[in-house]
Amino acid sequence: MSAEVARGFRWLWLDGDRLSLDPDAGGRRFGADPRPFEAEPVRGAWAHVCAVCDDESARIPYDQPEVQLARADALAWWIPLLGDSLVCLTTLSLDSVHYGGAITVTRDPDRFRADPFARLFPGRVIRTDLFGEVPPPPGPVLERYAGAPWPAGSFSAPSEGDRA
């Protein structure tokens, strides 16, 4: 397990219309939920990447209301709207504080025009084999765990003997 996975994220590089897990691929680096990359990849999926790859100033603190609201909209109607088409979604972190975008991965690209994360950074559609299926966040938790990109991360479940 890499150090970033242990911390609740996985580095991902975006260069134009190319997504890669390879540090040598070039482009802008983002932290993503690591779980989609541990699952069996869905071949020929569609990723709606709402991020800017050539402007390092394109960043918003995660706690800004517009970022919170996009996450709330994802739970309220975006995930239900996608239904069985959804493969996974992840926000993209730049560091422990800043939001840099989001990726929604589906089996068809028909509904991407409604993506609430496209309100924050413009979306582009990329065909990809990188992502596997992950159960969507159950809600209502919007907060991030130790700076991980929502919905990644969790507190470790304590055993019975650990209780006060």
Partner: protein
């Protein structure tokens, strides 16, 4: 897995890892949904019941607190996923609904409301659970007033969070 014998619901006892579809029809397990956080698990009769409509609106009123407090809120009924999805959207809920339309867990949990011979619904019941699904508290929701108040949910979430986080 569905157990044949009734499960004892009382504080300190393990709650079963329910396997049910959510409001989008996607299979879920309660342990996956809990994800290491405290859980308020609400069994409700169904969308048609005016008491449940009132209570669910109250839960929507506290979801803003759950969403920043690393705690889960889950509602279970015998409504189909399609009906739950519409009810959830109408409420403005952002938490998870689980559908037991096949009534697989009603008997084992001993939560069938026997008086309702039309819907065969869940008896209104609220449980607060530790992240490992051990029962912290149980509220029988008969006569409406038996349900957990929002203050009781806050109190239970505080107690569970203290027990599992402050060590």
């Amino acid at each position: 897995m569905v157990l044949r014998e009734a499960i004892v619901l009382e504080p300190g006892r393990p709650f079963p890892d329910l396997d049910l579809p959510d409001h989008t029809g996607r299979p879920r397990r309660l342990s996956e949904v809990a994800g290491g956080d405290p859980v308020a698990l609400v069994f409700f009769r169904g969308f048609w019941c005016p008491k449940e409509q009132r209570y669910m609106r109250a839960l929507v009123g506290v979801q803003d607190e759950f969403e920043v407090a690393y705690a889960r809120l889950v509602a279970v009924s015998v409504d189909s996923p399609e009906v739950q999805s519409a009810f959830r959207a109408g409420l403005g809920a952002r938490f998870l609904f689980l559908s037991d339309a096949e009534r697989r867990w009603l008997g084992p949990l001993g939560l069938l409301e026997a008086d309702d011979t039309v819907h065969h619904p869940y008896r209104p019941t609220v449980l607060t659970l530790f992240p490992d699904l051990t029962v912290h508290a149980l509220y029988r929701g008969d006569w409406y007033w038996g349900r957990a108040t929002m203050e009781e949910l806050r109190r239970d979430m505080r107690a569970i969070t203290r027990a599992v986080r402050e060590r």
